[in-house]
C-alpha cells in the first residue's frame, strides 16, 4: 500500500492559530509527520530589543493572550534576575493568585474545546459559562479580562481589597464543586474514554528525550513542574502538590489539567490565607544593568522561559523566549505516528496547542493528483 500525503492547515473554526502539518499516511494510519509552523511569527524577539523594559511587558504578554500573565511574569522575573531585586512578600502572593487564575481559565478553555472536539458540545458550553466567572475575577483583580500587564519589574500593579478576597473565595468554592463534577465526566464517561484512552501515546522515555513540557509530559509519568523543582514567587510557602498521570495518552493529559485546576483553586485559597500585608511594588531600577537573566515559570501549557541579556541601557540587548507549545511539537509528532487519521484532532488538542490545527483537511492522492477535502466533523466522525 503506497503512502499518501495529507495536509492539515491552516484554518480552523475554533479559536486557535493557523499552522500546518504534513502527514504521511498509509490506509488510515499515520506513518510520519512534518510540522510547518510560522504563520504566527511576528518578530517579537527583535521588537523587544527596541522596547524599554516597561514597554516590553505589554509586548511580551501579547505573545499569547491566553497565558499572558505567565509571559509578563516570566519577563519581569528575568529582569529582576539581572537586577537582583528583593520583592515585597505581598507581591509574591498576588502574583501567584493572578498566575493561578490564568491557569484555571486556560485549562477550562482547553477542556471545553476538547469536549467540543469529541462531540460534546454541551460540555463546552457549560464549562465556558463557568469560565466567565473566572474572567470576571481576573478583570477585577488585574484590570482587564485579557492582556492586563499586571506584573511589573518589582511587583504587581494592583492590590486586592477585602471585598474582592471574599468574592474570590466564594467563586472558587463554587467552581471547585463544578470541577469535581466535570472531573467525573472526563474520568468516567464512556464516549469520552473511548475517544481518548489509548490514543496519542507518548512513553515516558520519549517524553524526556524530546524535552516535552507541562501537562503533556506529566501525563506520561514525568514528575516535572517548575513550581515544584524551581519554585518562584510564593510557591515555596504554599504546599504545592504536583499532578501527574502514568498512562501517557490523551485521557491522561486531559486528566492532568482537570486535577491541576482543582489544585489551582486550592492554591488561590491558600494564598489568600497566608498573604501578608505590605507594599505591592518596589521602585524599579531605571536601566537594565549589563548581565544575563533567566527565568522559567510553569505556564498553563508547560515551562516557559525567558533569557535576557542586559546592556546597561533601558532596552535589553537580546531576549529569547522559549514557549511551551514549541517544546511540545516534537512530542506531538511522535504521538501522531502509529495512530489513525481520526485521532489527529484529539491528539493535537491534548497538548493544548497555542496555535491551531485546522478545519479543512486536504487529501492529496499522490498518484492521481486528486484532491479531496474533509471537514473536521467528517474527520472526527470516521473514528468511531
Amino acid at each position: 500500500m503506497s503512502s499518501i500525503d495529507l495536509v492539515i492547515g491552516p484554518q480552523h473554526p475554533a479559536l486557535h492559530e493557523p499552522e500546518r502539518f504534513l502527514f504521511k499516511v498509509e490506509g488510515e494510519t499515520v506513518i510520519d509527520v512534518e510540522p510547518r509552523i510560522g504563520y504566527v511569527h511576528r518578530g517579537i524577539e527583535k521588537a523587544l530589543e527596541n522596547r524599554t523594559f516597561v514597554q516590553g511587558v505589554y509586548l511580551a504578554e501579547r505573545v499569547c493572550g491566553i497565558c499572558n500573565v505567565a509571559h509578563s511574569l516570566c519577563y519581569v522575573q528575568a529582569m529582576e534576575d539581572i537586577c537582583e531585586v528583593e520583592l515585597p512578600e505581598r507581591a509574591k502572593y498576588l502574583r501567584v493568585i493572578a498566575h493561578e487564575l490564568n491557569r484555571i481559565h486556560s485549562h477550562i478553555l482547553l477542556l471545553g474545546v476538547a469536549g467540543e472536539l469529541l462531540g460534546f458540545m454541551t460540555l463546552f458550553m457549560l464549562m465556558w459559562r463557568d469560565r466567565e466567572d473566572v474572567m470576571d475575577l481576573i478583570e477585577r483583580l488585574t484590570g482587564n479580562r485579557v492582556n492586563s500587564a499586571y506584573n511589573v519589574v518589582g511587583g504587581v500593579r494592583r492590590d486586592i481589597d477585602s471585598k474582592l478576597a471574599e468574592d474570590l473565595r466564594k467563586v472558587m468554592d463554587r467552581l471547585y464543586e463544578r470541577m469535581v463534577r466535570y472531573k467525573k465526566v472526563f474520568a468516567n464517561d464512556p464516549t469520552v474514554r473511548a475517544r481518548t484512552v489509548g490514543v496519542g501515546l507518548l512513553s515516558r522515555a520519549k517524553a524526556v528525550d524530546l524535552c516535552a513540557v507541562g501537562p503533556t509530559t506529566r501525563g506520561s509519568g514525568v514528575k516535572a513542574d517548575v513550581r515544584d523543582y524551581l519554585p518562584y514567587a510564593a510557591y515555596e510557602d504554599l504546599d504545592f502538590k504536583l499532578v501527574s498521570y502514568e498512562e501517557g495518552d490523551v485521557w491522561a493529559r486531559l486528566m492532568v489539567r482537570v486535577d491541576e485546576t482543582l489544585e489551582a483553586i486550592e492554591l488561590i485559597k491558600r494564598s489568600l490565607d497566608k498573604m501578608p500585608s505590605g507594599p505591592i511594588c518596589i521602585k524599579p531600577p531605571r536601566v537594565i544593568p549589563k548581565g544575563e537573566g533567566f527565568s522559567v515559570v510553569e505556564a498553563p501549557r508547560g515551562d516557559l522561559n525567558y533569557h535576557v541579556y542586559g546592556k546597561g541601557a533601558s532596552t535589553p540587548d537580546r531576549v529569547k523566549i522559549r514557549t511551551p507549545t514549541y517544546a511540545n511539537i516534537p512530542a506531538v509528532c511522535e504521538m501522531f505516528k502509529g495512530g489513525y487519521i481520526a485521532d489527529i484532532p484529539a491528539t493535537l488538542v491534548s497538548i493544548d496547542p497555542c496555535f491551531a490545527c485546522t478545519d479543512r483537511v486536504a487529501i492529496i492522492n499522490v498518484e492521481t493528483g486528486e484532491r479531496r477535502s474533509l471537514t473536521i466533523e467528517e474527520l472526527t466522525r470516521r473514528g468511531k
Partner: protein
C-alpha cells in the same frame, strides 16, 4: 557544583556558580558535545530549556540552558563562535528535543548545525530573502518591511 566541574574537566574554560542552583560553564567550540555527554552520563535525565543565540557584535554566543533533574541544577553551557565561522556540531543525537531549537537558531542567526537531520526554515515566509538573518545586529530589515 563541584561535580559538574569535575565532569567537564579540561574542556571547561571557565566555571562560575552564579546562584545556589545555577552554574555558568564556558566551553570551547568543539567541546559542547562532550560536555553534554558527560553531564548526561553523570547526572542522568537532562532537560533542555532552550538554546539561546546572541549576536554580541564581536562574537556569537550560544547558550545551552540545561536542567539536571536529579541534582536540581541549571547549567548554562556557553560557547562562542566567531562571526565568520558560524558552524557547530548538532546535539540532536544526544538530546532529540533540540531539533527545533537548532533550526530556529539557524534561521534567525545563520548558525549551521553540522549533522542536523533537517536544517530547514521554520518560521519565516517562503519569500524571505536568503542570507538575511533577522536577529543579527546588522540585519537590514528595511528591505523586507
Amino acid at each position: 557544583m563541584k561535580a559538574v566541574r569535575e565532569v567537564l574537566g579540561s574542556s571547561l574554560l571557565e566555571g562560575v556558580t552564579v546562584k545556589p542552583n545555577r552554574v555558568n560553564m564556558v566551553v570551547d567550540k568543539g567541546a559542547h558535545r562532550r560536555a553534554i555527554e558527560a553531564l548526561k552520563s553523570k547526572f542522568g535525565e537532562v532537560h533542555l530549556f532552550s538554546i539561546v543565540g546572541a549576536d554580541l557584535k564581536d562574537r556569537l554566543e550560544l547558550t545551552y540552558n540545561l536542567w539536571l533533574y536529579e541534582a536540581k541544577i541549571h547549567v548554562m553551557l556557553k560557547t562562542s563562535l566567531p562571526l565568520d565561522g558560524l558552524e557547530i556540531e548538532t546535539i540532536t543525537d544526544l538530546i532529540p528535543g533540540s531539533t527545533l531549537y537548532e533550526r530556529e537558531v539557524y534561521e534567525m542567526l545563520g548558525v549551521i548545525f553540522k549533522g542536523h537531520p533537517n536544517l530547514k526554515r521554520l518560521f519565516l515566509p517562503e519569500d524571505w530573502p536568503e542570507g538575511l538573518w533577522p536577529l543579527r545586529k546588522n540585519a537590514k530589515l528595511e528591505e523586507v518591511a
